[in-house]
């Protein structure tokens, strides 16, 4: 795309320097895994490692071209009813899997079962699947221990080797190379992970399963706030456990049944000691409101950026570190939509109590409904609030967002690409998925030779002329 260059010779240096700063401190693992611990772990948990086979449709984000491939990935049984996790790159904006099946060996025979793709949590790049057993079946699943990890801890990762060695289970030794604090606590592994070890269980030196491995999505791939793409990480038990208890239920085109998660509509930062000192507050701990989402319960209650939340629904808030912000988010979610809560805060150092009625958490991009049509060749989605925030789209922009452009389609010929926001199709204004659907239906009836789409690309607006093939 951007293959045009200006002709002066420039030295692009220095930018790489930033990366060096974030490099991990060199800490060698102090202890080594004793062989008996490794063998014990293997004997105990290798049974929970299954294979996920699937058919994958990949879309090139630039050209919109799609291709299909068959694939195999490691799956980890995390619940005895057949709940499986696998690595999240299988299900992204540009990749969809279908025909998922779970293959597992038990007592010397291989079982293959169909599986339903459940979806991914918003904040964890892991895909959840549910194996469908014909009759009630108890699966061998790992059980997790919520044990903290530390810099330098040696860890053992279980996974499956490559196809050339028949995907036999194997082990890899590694250590926690770095601990990252923002925007939540994350543990980086030192080594490069082989594919067969992604979503594999991570064990500490005492043989406890303390998390699974994973790689976040980059921002281009649709990763959000947590994106630390390319770095193999450990998703610790604390992050996983809620989703094992209550797996995401999106996917397969079924919109999530909303209504169970509450929403306040603020982004917060922890009140670190130096922030408290700067504002002359007697003690650190609390949540600084950094952003108030327009039209949210927080905005309606008059919460402002700079307010410091000291107590929420009677529960004191003492966050001083970035990772504790997530606990607050969870507390809000679990409080229950419709509930009126008391929020005690400090504004300019003065205490203030506000009452806020929480609403239902808005639909997220992953839960948003999609509509695929073959008139223009586009798959579009509702503009959810998280997409608005991720792409910095103002509230007054109404439309649907292009997620995929079918290969060879009229839309592709008109140079449309994922990320474009469609605001009108011909004479029909489009503010939501239903209106887009209706506009396409109108086109089917009237069969115009060309259709101008009014759209937004980044901060600019303009027209695309698409010529449907009738």
């Amino acid at each position: 795309m951007n293959n045009q260059s200006r002709l002066s010779r420039k030295a692009y240096g220095c930018l790489g320097l930033l990366a060096i700063l974030f490099a991990a401190p060199r800490v060698a693992s102090a202890e080594a895994f004793p062989a008996p611990v490794i063998r014990q772990a293997y004997n105990q948990w290798a049974r929970a490692l299954c294979l996920v086979t699937f058919s994958q449709e990949l879309t090139d984000p630039r050209s919109g071209e799609s291709r299909r491939r068959e694939g195999t990935a490691l799956g980890l049984l995390v619940r005895s009813d057949g709940l499986v996790i696998t690595h999240g790159h299988l299900q992204t904006d540009t990749s969809r899997i279908t025909d998922a099946r779970i293959r597992l060996e038990s007592d010397g025979k291989t079982d293959e079962l169909p599986a339903v793709v459940l979806g991914k949590p918003d904040d964890l790049n892991l895909l959840f699947l549910q194996a469908q057993a014909p009759e009630k079946k108890t699966f061998p699943a790992v059980s997790f221990a919520d044990v903290p990890l530390q810099l330098g801890d040696p860890v053992l990762v279980l996974g499956r080797m490559s196809e050339t060695v028949d995907y036999v289970p194997g082990v890899v030794l590694d250590h926690i190379a770095a601990v990252v604090d923002t925007p939540r606590t994350a543990y980086c592994l030192a080594g490069g992970l082989k594919m067969g070890f992604l979503s594999g269980p991570v064990l500490n030196i005492r043989g406890e399963v303390v998390g699974v491995t994973g790689i976040e999505l980059s921002e281009e791939e649709g990763g959000g706030l947590y994106s630390r793409s390319g770095v193999p990480m450990v998703f610790q038990t604390a992050l996983l456990a809620p989703y094992i208890a209550s797996p995401p239920r999106s996917g397969a085109g079924e919109p999530k049944v909303s209504g169970e998660e509450a929403w306040l509509g603020v982004f917060t930062q922890p009140l670190k000691p130096e922030f408290a000192a700067y504002w002359g507050l007697p003690e650190a701990g609390g949540l600084i409101v950094s952003t108030v989402v327009p039209d949210s319960p927080a905005a309606q209650a008059g919460i402002q950026p700079g307010d410091i939340i000291k107590s929420f629904d009677g529960k004191p808030q003492r966050a001083t570190q970035d990772r504790e912000v997530l606990n607050f988010s969870r507390l809000v979610r679990d409080t229950g939509p419709g509930k009126t809560v008391r929020i005690e805060l400090l504004r300019n150092g003065q205490p203030l109590t506000l009452e806020v009625t929480l609403t239902t958490r808005p639909q997220s991009a992953q839960d948003a409904e999609e509509y695929e049509e073959n008139v223009l060749g586009l798959t579009v989605r509702e503009l959810t609030r998280d997409i608005r925030i991720a792409l910095n789209i103002a509230e007054d922009v109404q439309g649907v967002i292009v997620r995929r452009v079918a290969s060879g389609s009229p839309a592709q010929a008109a140079k449309m690409r994922p990320g474009v926001i469609i605001m009108a199709v011909g004479d029909y204004t489009v503010t939501n998925l239903e209106e887009y659907r209706q506009a396409i239906e109108k086109l089917r009836e009237t069969r115009p030779a060309e259709v101008p789409l009014f759209a937004r690309v980044g901060s600019a607006t303009g027209f695309f002329r698409v010529r449907p093939r009738w």
Binding site: N3, L7, S8, R9, L21, V27, Y278, E450, G458, R465
Partner: protein
């Protein structure tokens, strides 16, 4: 006539081509003359050729650094005005020029125009200088012979030859360097990095373009800014030091972006900036501009847009212009008072005590950041290991307030910074916009976490 050349060996083709053109122009075509014509053109241009080595100021790392660039240019007057590209000589502190007789002279940047990628330098030395003649670009035709002069990859005094491949190539929506006001002359005369700012010349030795771009990964696909446009910009820069343009606040698109129907005349309005003169008179995206001060305007194809944009830009700032706008088949006239168009790229400066460099938030920056109006300053660089970096500030952040005081613009930011340096303030609280979100950032000069991190690493 062209058939003759089908049978010519490849190598001879270009010379023969030159011969044809020269022959037609001079009225005689004997062997040996093509080469003579090329030599004559070279003799006219070469003495005026300038090898340019600007020292550019760069702020991308959170401090002010200098960077050496290489480009080309040409002298256009006996008193030593030199034309080159803005991307060669813009943002430079000093420019060293090497003339064709190997004289090394310093030059001063008279002015630079990023919108057309043209810059003008003035040589500091003994006049008179040899200079080239401007030709006209509006009569240039595809197929005509062209010579490119300059310093490809820094190799000065090089000349290459080819033909004009296309006369009005629109590159406006390609890549990150828009060219709103001009199409390009495309040539297959070899153009390489370092040729930037050098002249594209016809067989008579007249400048028909300023070499500016190439297609990376392609061979012999080079682009020059047409001489007519370059010349007007150069004259404005010499006269005023800059190019003044009117700003209406709408973005234009070709009519065929909406319909291929040849009966539809005018120019499509693609977008309207908030709070702009156009927004004030309720011009909306989808409207069609059909006339400016009674003169019909038309842009059926993309190539037609630069001429309309130039027409609009050249209307006097502050004086009402009558625009005829069509909406749903109905026409209406509106009087719009254009503002002066501000530079897309504003002032840049490093604030090294904090390890931070910032740029002015121009209209363009504000538009991209979805700010309703310019406000604050834009972070463009953060020094590794400096307080701003450890506070978590990132390039792209827009600093909105400092210690609770609104950072209205660049000047206010500098004033607030200077105050804090004078008072030796150790903690500075910033409120910044990052994408759609805002956050608080505390610059703490007391305890850089860098030191803590060091300590942890060495325990």
């Amino acid at each position: 006539m062209n058939q003759r050349f089908l049978f010519l060996p490849r190598l001879g083709c270009r010379l023969a081509c030159a011969g044809l053109v020269f022959g037609v122009l001079a009225g005689c075509a004997t062997l040996g003359q093509p080469e003579r014509a090329v030599l004559r053109a070279r003799e006219q241009v070469s003495p005026a050729l300038v090898h340019i080595r600007p020292v550019k100021e760069v702020f991308q790392t959170g401090k002010r650094t200098e960077m050496l660039a290489v480009g080309s240019g040409f002298i256009i007057s006996p008193d030593g005005y030199v034309v080159t590209n803005e991307h060669v000589a813009g943002d430079s502190t000093s420019v060293q020029c090497v003339l064709s007789d190997n004289r090394e002279l310093d030059a001063q940047v008279v002015g630079a125009d990023p919108d057309t990628d043209i810059a003008v330098l003035k040589l500091q030395g003994d006049a008179p200088f040899p200079y080239v003649k401007w030709g006209r670009s509006d009569t240039v035709q595809a197929g005509q012979v062209a010579l490119a002069f300059g310093s490809p990859h820094g190799l000065s005094r090089s000349v290459s030859m080819g033909i004009i491949s296309m006369t009005d190539r629109n590159l406006d929506d390609e890549g990150a360097s828009p060219a709103p006001y001009n199409n390009f002359i495309q040539t297959d005369a070899a153009i390489n990095p370092g040729n930037s700012g050098g002249p594209l010349v016809n067989i008579r030795g007249e400048v028909i373009g300023v070499n500016a771009r190439m297609l990376r990964g392609a061979e012999n696909v080079g682009f020059a800014i047409p001489a007519d446009i370059a010349r007007a910009v150069v004259e404005a820069i010499i006269r005023d030091g800059r190019v003044r343009r009117s700003y209406f606040g709408f973005e234009l698109q070709e009519m065929t972006a909406r319909s291929i129907d040849p009966g539809k005349r005018g120019v499509l309005i693609a977008g309207v900036d908030r709070f702009s003169p156009a927004a004030e008179v309720d011009i909306r995206p989808g409207d069609v501009l059909t006339a400016v001060n009674g003169i019909p305007v038309n842009a059926r194809w993309r190539e037609d847009l630069p001429a309309v944009r130039r027409l609009m830009a050249e209307l006097p700032v502050g004086e009402p212009a009558r625009l005829t706008i069509e909406r749903n088949g109905e026409q209406r006239d509106v009087d719009v008072v254009p503002e002066e168009k501000t530079a897309a790229r504003g002032k840049q400066e490093a604030f090294e005590a904090w390890g931070l460099s910032v740029a002015e938030v121009t209209q363009e920056v504000a538009r991209r950041a979805q700010l309703p109006r310019p406000a604050g300053v834009l972070v463009i660089g953060v020094s590794p290991g400096a307080p701003a970096g450890w506070a978590g500030l990132q390039p792209g952040d827009i600093i909105l307030t400092m210690d609770g005081e609104t950072v209205v613009d660049f000047a206010v930011f500098r004033k607030l910074y200077d105050q804090r340096i004078q008072e030796n303030r150790r903690q500075i609280m910033l409120f910044v916009q990052r994408g759609a979100l805002t956050r608080f950032v505390l610059i703490n000069l007391e305890q850089a976490p860098a030191e803590q991190e060091e300590a942890r690493g060495h325990e």
